[in-house]
Subunit: 550 residues, 2 copies
């Protein structure tokens, strides 16, 4: 059995090593057009930033080490240029010598990853992507050539854009972040992304939302790197010794498409749950291949290293005759930016609304651990719940320590099919420095349980003004001191602890109560509804509402 | 409806507040024999250690605050002394005045918690428990009275014993830890507990295993606190200005038993899944009540704050007519001791062996996050798996950062019924500072998958000597440098990367391969078995074996 693999990093190399462990007799050839295999692309931004200082840390494997241990035939600087499905061969070009060759296969695994989405800008300034070891070397060279403190423009506020921003600032670069749409981190909903923008600005980043690059200060006919600044659609000129294009990626389906393999609607290579493409001798894994979306069912693009590794191994299992069917993907992601951790899984509200999918929403602002133990940090959590089944459809968390833990627990619960209200039952490890007796996750479950049973009804921050316009009255149940320190327009203050005695002062008609984060509001809503009021609680309280105004 | 609650902390007060939110008209009376309600008992050790400095942090609620917000009738310094089930009354004694009274109930909730297991020692030295605010004040007073640097003996190396040790050391106290059995932290297996002992000793703690207190240096007829040291069963005398009894707790079932309520075999109050006792008008929650064990099915004692809070709320739900059935308990626990975090869930190996339950074992030593990113810390994980169903039966983790996250993910998977090999499929949030592309949890799943499918066979550290005696040969596949730095007796060294070429040098007959942690051993085992050898991998490698020798 001869297995040829296109792409020698996450998915491809995981397939190769597992294949070897399952079949010592197989012939395994890995083609990698770049000069490095099995490298830690996820570490590249941190190498730019000087957080990772030893280049060797990113490059643990070489063709030689992989040959010694796994008897792999790894050919770097070799690009696969075409697939002859009938003949079961690929054509290959040596990128150093230009030499062309043909390689036969019994099974072919496509693990070519993703490619940048945008056309390179051409405004007299070289733009750099941040995807390969070579990219990092180029970026390094540009920064090193600048006299004094360099300036950079990062285009695109997604995961990699933000990692670039963070690391450039860490390296002493002045950074402008240009985002075409109104919001960075589009997997988040706007009220969850807003605090991240505030944090970027607090760290000196010039964030330009709803803006794009329209030109440069270079003479129109200039070539090369004559420009020193970029012109933005808002009319401003921003300094740019370095321009990083982080506008996102799309699956690299060039080989597959040219070979007539089925391509999914959302642009990835179609595969069945054993990673087989529409040609049963050809498999695809990683950023280039479609995943089944756990929320929507259809083919989804999830460009994450974990799934690439996982599905690479699964393709080898299939080829070795022990198929290991893939699960639908929940799409967990995380990014650290300055002192914030931002994590998400599943779908966001905007996407659920666009799909017309009935859902419930919970916003909370719990502590990373028991409030009475030093060092607790507050985070913001948003949970999206299927209105019909109580299934968890997605979550977003922004905060400091403990964010990664909570998203992993939710991703696990989601994958396992636990309902949102069942989060209340999870026995999460509690000692005061790690969590809370009712952990953040349990509290989400309690709130979800209350929504599920109609014990509480809530109003979202973006529904508030319409509700007030339609005649509801807003009651702030925080203390007078909290109210005085900042409050919602139109709110009247009546402290929760006085509500029982003074509720008769409240106006007739629908009430909306709120507190700082929603918790006291819930107790207020329960009380008032039992006292005969028509009452709802502002989900996430003042804090979520404020975030929504940004 | 009148609800009387015995015990005003975790379970009792959670029942009371939820009850109020569900039923504004109920009369709710809470009796607490101590002087404080709703306090953070889990924070007490850290208050002793001076980590938590503000006493008010531990005492957030008062009878007044609970009356204002929840209209609760909280009576501190009131002990419930008996239950008249026929009459539906409890008898109550005011602990300050001695005054006795009778209180009727429609529903009674018992949330009296646990009580210390041991008889107080009487060797001329006062022993202190660490369970209440008063205990902490007594401990404080003893330490403050010592001239110079105080010495303490902590009896019992369980969770609270270790928290006491850590905090006393933090406060500058010299500590001897006395443990009757051969091992501290008995929920762990010995090879997992051993590194904790090493860490305690590295922090200057005098750990005495297999030892108990037999007397003191006080004159035989002395009363009071004449002694300054304790005599141990090993013949030594250890200094003891302070003695803390942390030998463990048992459910406080005194009231329930006297009232003829059903008590379970393992000593807690029997309850059904709605927290009802054998008397449908009486409920029990928290440390005093039995839980259904998720692994064993039978009644279990799980003395954790999370479940106490959870079941308190559930009892209120039941009383309010919307029963919320309890799930079987997995029993997640965690403790921080110096720079280590120790966490566990479910059953350990010793318990599975004792119960004759067929199981598989996995030991790994993964990084808290990607090895190429600074600051990664190694942890040790042990996973116990049902040999028939692949169900997760338990886990133990010892390490630094990231331990709490991994135990929570496993506890969630276990509660949701995910199989061990399904851990490989979890999409856990990966960026290099948070995890690995194949996270620690995924790797557990991969190893479990290999055991499930017979792709790999393993040998446990404690089985090794018998296997070698029976004729197996041991092959260390690490590098010669690793071998030279320390190796197993009887091992021959043959580096993994040379195995393919030189395997013919290996002896005939069964082979056991090993590396540092098991990972290279797995690749070696796969290779050798395909080359015709009868081979197994030493689970957890040299590191687990070493830990087992302690
Ligand atoms: C800067 C950066 C940071 C990232 N951070 C994270 C993170 O924190 N967490 C996370 O989960 N994911 C992260 N990712 C994404 C993650 O790296 C990818 O999801 C993963 O590497 C995809 O694996 P793959 O095998 O599909 O493709 P890749 O790992 O990209 O490998 C594809 C390889 O195929 C080669 N190739 C392409 N075409 C050919 C051809 N025709 N012939 C020969 N070789 C070819 C390419 O040169 C490339 O080396 C990051 C990516 C980047 C670039
Ligand atoms: C020092 C310490 C540290 C801990 N650390 C942790 C931890 O880190 N994580 C964790 O999960 N758990 C921890 N626990 C355990 C946790 O506190 C308990 O599981 C939880 O409090 C049990 O709740 P409960 O309602 O059953 O009992 P408790 O919270 O103990 O409340 C019972 C109350 O009932 C009162 N009472 C008893 N009998 C009567 C009576 N007859 N009349 C009136 N009142 C009565 C008692 O005075 C007591 O206040 C710790 C416990 C201690 C003592
Ligand atoms: C590293 C790489 C070459 C894969 O090598 P690999 O040997 O398959 O993977 P790992 O080193 O993670 O080891 C996993 C194997 O060890 C086994 N294993 C792990 N820990 C073990 C232990 N303690 N005991 C026994 N076996 C263990 C696993 O079961 C698995 O074997 P299997 O696939 O046969 O089940 C590939 O993942 C790669 O190139 N990664 C870098 C690129 C990348 O992922 N980039 C994106 C992220 S930055
Ligand atoms: C604090 C204590 C009195 C319980 O009070 P409580 O109001 O029931 O609990 P919390 O303050 O945690 O609030 C939980 C409630 O707020 C709701 N809630 C939490 N966050 C919310 C949010 N953001 N929006 C809306 N509702 C929210 C929950 O749904 C829950 O209400 P429910 O039970 O009606 O569903 C009790 O747990 C206690 O005494 N604890 C201290 C003692 C202890 O636990 N010791 C052991 C550990 S140290």
């Amino acid at each position: 059995m001869k297995i040829v693999i296109v792409g020698g990093v996450a998915g491809g190399m995981s397939a190769a090593t597992r294949m070897r462990r399952l079949d010592e007799s197989a012939e395994i050839v890995v083609f990698e057009r770049g000069h490095y295999v099995s490298f830690a692309n996820c570490g590249l931004p941190y190498y730019v930033g000087g957080v990772i200082t030893d280049r060797a840390e990113l490059l643990l494997q070489t063709p030689e080490s992989l040959r010694a241990r796994f008897r792999l035939d790894v050919r770097i600087d070799h690009e696969v240029t075409g697939i002859d499905r009938a003949g079961q061969t690929v054509s290959v070009r040596n990128t150093l010598t230009g030499e062309e060759s043909i390689e036969g296969y019994d099974r072919l695994i496509l693990a070519a990853g993703a490619t940048t989405r945008s056309e390179p800008l051409d405004f007299g300034l070289a733009t750099h992507t941040l995807r390969t070891v070579d990219d990092v070397d180029h970026i390094d060279a540009v920064l090193a050539a600048v006299d004094g403190s360099p300036s950079a423009v990062v285009i695109g506020g997604g995961f990699i854009g933000l990692e670039a921003v963070d690391n450039l600032v860490h390296r002493g670069v002045h950074v402008t972040l240009v985002q075409r749409g109104p919001q960075i981190l589009t997997p988040l909903d706007p009220e969850m992304a807003a605090p991240v923008v505030a944090d970027l600005r607090a760290h000196g980043v010039d964030v330009r939302l709803g803006t794009h690059v329209v030109g440069s200060d270079a003479p129109v006919d200039s070539a090369g790197t004559a420009a020193t600044g970029l012109l933005l659609s808002d009319g401003s000129l921003v300094p740019a010794d370095l321009v990083i294009d982080a506008t996102g990626v799309r699956p690299d389906t060039s080989l597959a498409a040219a070979a007539g393999l089925r391509i999914g609607d959302s642009g990835g290579i179609w595969v069945d749950e054993t990673q087989a493409t529409s040609d049963p001798r050809i498999f695809a894994v990683g950023d280039g291949a479609l995943k089944t979306d756990a929320v929507g069912g259809a083919g989804a693009l999830v460009t994450m290293a974990g799934l690439a590794n996982r599905h690479g191994r699964a393709a080898a299992d299939t080829i070795a005759g022990r198929p290991d069917a893939a699960e639908p993907a929940v799409g967990t992601g995380i990014v650290g930016v300055f002192d914030l951790t931002v994590a998400m899984v599943g779908w966001n509200e905007q996407r659920l609304v666009a799909a017309g999918r009935a859902h419930r929403i919970v916003h909370t602002h719990p502590s990373s651990h028991a409030g009475y133990f030093p060092g607790a940090e507050q985070m913001a959590i948003k949970l999206l719940i299927d209105a019909d089944t109580d299934a968890i459809l997605g979550a977003q968390i922004v905060g400091g320590s403990g964010v990664d833990k909570r998203i992993d627990v939710i991703a696990t619960a989601m994958a396992a099919g636990l309902g949102a209200s069942a989060l209340s039952r999870l026995e999460l490890a509690y000692a005061p420095q790690y969590g809370s007796a009712k952990d953040a996750i349990n509290q989400l479950g309690y709130v979800a349980d209350n929504l599920l049973h109609g014990t509480t009804r809530s109003v979202q921050w973006h529904e508030l003004s319409a509700e007030l316009a339609a005649g509801a009255s807003l009651v702030d149940v925080r203390t007078p001191a909290e109210f005085a320190a900042g409050h919602l327009p139109d709110a009247r203050n009546l402290n929760l602890d006085e509500l029982r005695a003074r509720h008769a002062e409240l106006p007739a008609g629908p009430l909306i109560v709120h507190c700082q984060v929603g918790q006291r509001g819930h107790t207020a809503a329960r009380l008032l509804s039992q006292l005969g009021h028509d009452v709802r609680n502002l989900d996430g309280g003042y804090r979520t509402w404020l975030a929504g105004q940004a």
